[in-house]
Every structure is written in C-alpha cells, then in structure tokens.
C-alpha cells in the first residue's frame, strides 16, 4: 500500500512500536518510583509502602491518582504558557531518546521481519547527545516562569550542572567511539555480540566510570541533586508546581534514569547480548525475546545501582560538584582519550 510514495504499512508498524515502547517506559518509570521507596525502606530498616494491594504493589497507581486530583495552581504573575511548557518539555525530551535504542534483535513473522528499534540512524549516539542537551530547557523554562527566586536559582544550578557534565560525558564517549568506529547504536551492540569479542567495559573501564558519574549528574540524581536541594532551595525548580505538572517533572527524572541505564547497557555491557551464549544457535524469535530479557535485566541492575547510590551517599556541595566536573572528570576523560588513541595507532602499526 503506497500513497504519496510512502509505505504506509511501514509507518503503521513504526507507530505501533513507538506506542509500545513509550507505554513500557512509562510503566517501568512508574514502578521505578515504587522500587525507589521499597529500596529506601530496606536500607533504612523500614517496611516501605505496603497498604495499596499486596506488598503495596498498587502504590504508584494511587500516587498518580492523587496527583491528578490535586488542585492545579498557576502563579498569577508567571507566564502561563511557559509555565505549562516547562514540565511538558521535560517529559518530551525524556521520551525522545528511546527512539534510537536497540531494544532487541529482529522478530520474524513469516516474511516480514520487525526490528525492535524505532530508528537505526547512523548518528545514533550524537542524537542522544542532542536530546540530552535539550533536556536543560524543561528545567530552565520551568524555573524561570515560576517567577520565584528559589526556582530561578535552582534552574540556573541545574542548567550549569547539566552543561558541565555533558562535556565530560562526550569526551569519555569519544574514546569508545574511536574503538568502535561507528555511531550507530545497533552496530555497536553487534560488535560486542560477535563471537570472541568482549563487552566494551573490558576495554574502556575508565570511560564507563566517567560516563556513569556524568549520567548520575545528568539525571539530577543524588549525590548530584543540587537543583532540588531541599535544605538550600526549598523544593528547587518545581517549587511552584502542583498537581500533575509536578508529577511530570518528577516522572521525567525516572524516565531519564531508565533511558540512561539503557544507554549504558547498550554502549558498555553488550546491549541485548546474552553472556556466554551464541545467539545464532537459537531460532531468531527466541533469541530476540531472550535478548530483550537480558537487556531489561541489565537495565534493572543499573536502576538499582542508581537508587543504591542515592540512599547511601550524601549530597555534594555546589563548588565541589563543579570542581569534580571541570577539574577531575574532564582531564581524566581527555587522558583516557589520548591513551586509547595511542593504543589504536600502535595496533594499526603492528
């Protein structure tokens, strides 16, 4: 079926895939809030949410319902449009990144094969960076349009933090990209899946460490949660927000956490590769489903580590945060890049 030289079946297939991926990431983000409260409770020797449903499993639904029923307050002196645009942008940029992540190998139904990835563009990694750098706008616009000094201060803090750590993140990835020689996320996964090759973490442990620290900072997670440091800035950039608009800001953080875990698993831990197993020996559909399971397991482990860090480490002071970003991580990432480049040159010569 072609109209206007567009293959509409292809479009429909992609639309269904987008809907499924967005729904799944929303559900996972929803249950990440539940997991966070449970993990915090275990670490502090409490029980955590246990009233709604068995083991409190319906708690996220109850929370969402509560947020929807709360009164919506828009400050009089703020710009209404920008006030609504802020949380919407935060949510949008959080969801957009999942377009390039390869969630699994191809599924085959008879003659048609469906790739479990929305778009395999050959600049995948740069696309992720572009969206991450746009994530600042949600915080900045939200903070500014609240017309509140605390919100503005928090927004500026958040923006400068995200900009600073983006640099170190990019530099730590250049070393990885020099090795893979490719920016497409699917081919990075395929290289790690090939028989006899190790995951990238084996070649780039320092790069991964820098990337992980920067990912914590980019998601505004503790110990880098300065934009919402309660004891200094009340509630931070979402001080004036109420109802589901506040929910959007908080929710975007969990989606970001999910997506950055997915990116770390893709780049450094083999993506949908199942360790110690040659996927070619299985039937393609089984391999795809098992691979998706392996990928999700890796993501959940990362989300757990994110939460573990949040409930064990105290918050940085602001000047310490900037010091770490500019004076430690960036030189370290540069050194890592130089060493990687030198080793690649030496191997090409030998």
């Amino acid at each position: 079926m072609t109209l206007l030289t567009i293959d509409w079946m292809f479009l429909l297939q992609k639309l269904i895939l987008i809907a499924v991926i967005i729904t799944v990431s929303l559900v996972i983000a929803m249950y990440a809030t539940y997991a966070e409260r449970k993990i915090a409770a275990i670490m502090q020797d409490r029980r955590g949410p246990n009233r709604a449903g068995p083991f409190g499993i319906l708690q996220p639904l109850a929370d969402g319902l509560k947020l929807f029923f709360k009164e919506e307050i828009i400050p009089n002196s703020s710009s209404k449009f920008l006030f609504i645009l802020g949380p919407s942008l935060a949510m949008l940029t959080a969801m957009m990144t999942c377009a390039v992540i390869p969630w699994g190998n191809k599924l085959e139904f008879g003659e048609t094969s469906i790739s479990l990835q929305i778009a395999d563009i050959n600049i995948g990694m740069l696309y992720v960076f572009a969206i991450v750098s746009l994530g600042v706008y949600g915080i900045m616009i939200g903070g500014w349009s609240s017309n509140n000094k605390f919100s503005l201060l928090a927004a500026l803090r958040g923006a400068s933090q995200v900009i600073s750590y983006e640099l170190a993140m990019g530099l730590s990835l250049i070393a990885l990209l020099m090795m893979t020689g490719n920016l497409s996320l699917r081919s990075i996964v395929d290289q790690q899946m090939a028989v006899g090759s190790l995951w990238n973490i084996a070649y780039q442990p320092l790069g991964f460490l820098i990337f992980f620290i920067c990912a914590l900072a980019e998601c505004n997670r503790a110990p880098f949660d300065l934009p919402e440091a309660e004891n200094e800035l009340n509630m931070g950039y979402h001080q004036e927000y109420s109802s589901m608009k506040l929910g959007f800001f908080l929710f975007a953080e969990y989606i970001n956490m999910f997506i950055s875990s997915a990116i770390m698993a893709t780049l450094f831990f083999g993506g949908y590769d199942i360790p110690f197993l040659d996927e070619k020996t299985l039937s393609p559909n089984l391999a795809a489903i098992l691979g998706l399971g392996a990928f999700m397991t890796k993501i959940f482990i990362f989300i757990f580590i994110f939460m573990w860090i949040r409930w064990t480490l105290p918050r940085f002071r602001y000047d310490q945060l900037m010091d770490l970003g500019w004076k430690k991580l960036i030189p370290l990432a540069l050194a890592n890049m130089l060493v990687t480049g030198a080793v690649i040159l030496w191997q090409m010569k030998g």
Partner: protein, 167 residues
C-alpha cells in the same frame, strides 16, 4: 508533490514564521525561545538534504549549547519592556531602510552568483553530509583549514579563560 517537498514547505513556513516572531516578541525570553524553534527548522532542512551530521551538530551546538547560555544571560538580566529605551522615529526609519538595502544586496548577489545558477538542492539524495564522508574530506583535502580553525577555537578558549579570570 513528493513527501520531501511537502515537508520542505511546512518546515520553511514554520521557520519564517518563528523568525518573524523572534523580532516581534516583546519579551526577550520569548525571542530566544522562538530562535530555538528556528534552529530546529534548520536542523530539519539539513535532514531533508541527507546531511545528518550537520543536522545533529547544528542541534547540539546551537540549540543545545549557545541558546542555553543566551537564555541564562537574559533570565539573569531580567530585561523589561519599560527599561528598554524607546528609539525615535528617524532612527527606526533609518534602520528599516538600511536593513532593506542589505537584504536586496544579499538576494541579488545570491541570485546572480555563477555557482548558484541552474543548481537544485539535492533532496534526500547525496551523501556528502554523512559523518564518514565529511570526516574523510575534512582530514584529507581540507586538513589545513581544519587545523587553522581549531587553532582559532583554542585561542578563543584561552581568551575566554583570561577574561574570566580577570578580577
């Protein structure tokens, strides 16, 4: 009409509309936000030309970095329409006339340039904008200009540090 052609017209329309809104908005924060929309449209034009690398770099550098700093400055300065000095009619008239003249000169040079004659933009074909080809060209035939511009960047960075350190 081809789909790319339809997209081209839609994106161009949005680009021109938001460029006008940059000028017409009273509040400088709105102007900056409209300018970001313009950069998005330019990014989309690059994608239509199959120049993916340029598209994404345009988005990272302009929309993601420069405009954020712009927004920073404007939010901190807290510009109001009241504090903005009103210009006299003559100054505004002179501005309109000189701007219009500049526009005429630019359009006439572009239209009469030999390089532009009988050339059509390649829609969704051509692969010079892909990252691999661009990298090869930059590091072989244009190596010297590339190095010179990187030295320029370095000196700009040093300059920024020196200015920032001045107490």
């Amino acid at each position: 009409m081809e789909p790319t052609e339809i997209l081209f017209w839609i994106i161009s329309g949005i680009a021109i509309f938001s460029a006008l809104m940059v000028l017409l908005s009273k509040n400088p924060v709105y102007s900056v936000l409209w300018l970001i929309v313009v950069f998005f449209c330019i990014t989309n034009h690059y994608i239509l030309l199959n120049a993916q690398f340029l598209a994404i770099v345009n988005m990272i550098v302009y929309a993601g970095a420069i405009m954020v700093l712009f927004l920073f400055v404007i939010m901190l300065m807290n510009l109001n329409t009241i504090s903005e000095p009103r210009r006299t009619l003559w100054v505004r008239l002179a501005g309109v006339v000189s701007g219009g003249l500049l526009l005429t000169v630019i359009i006439s040079t572009v239209r009469s340039a030999v390089d532009m004659n009988d050339k059509k933009a390649l829609m969704s074909t051509g692969d010079i904008g892909l990252i691999q080809n661009l990298g090869k060209v930059l590091f072989t035939s244009y190596a010297i200009p590339f190095e010179i511009s990187s030295i320029l960047f370095l000196s700009a960075m040093v300059g920024a540090v020196v200015i920032g350190k001045k107490e």
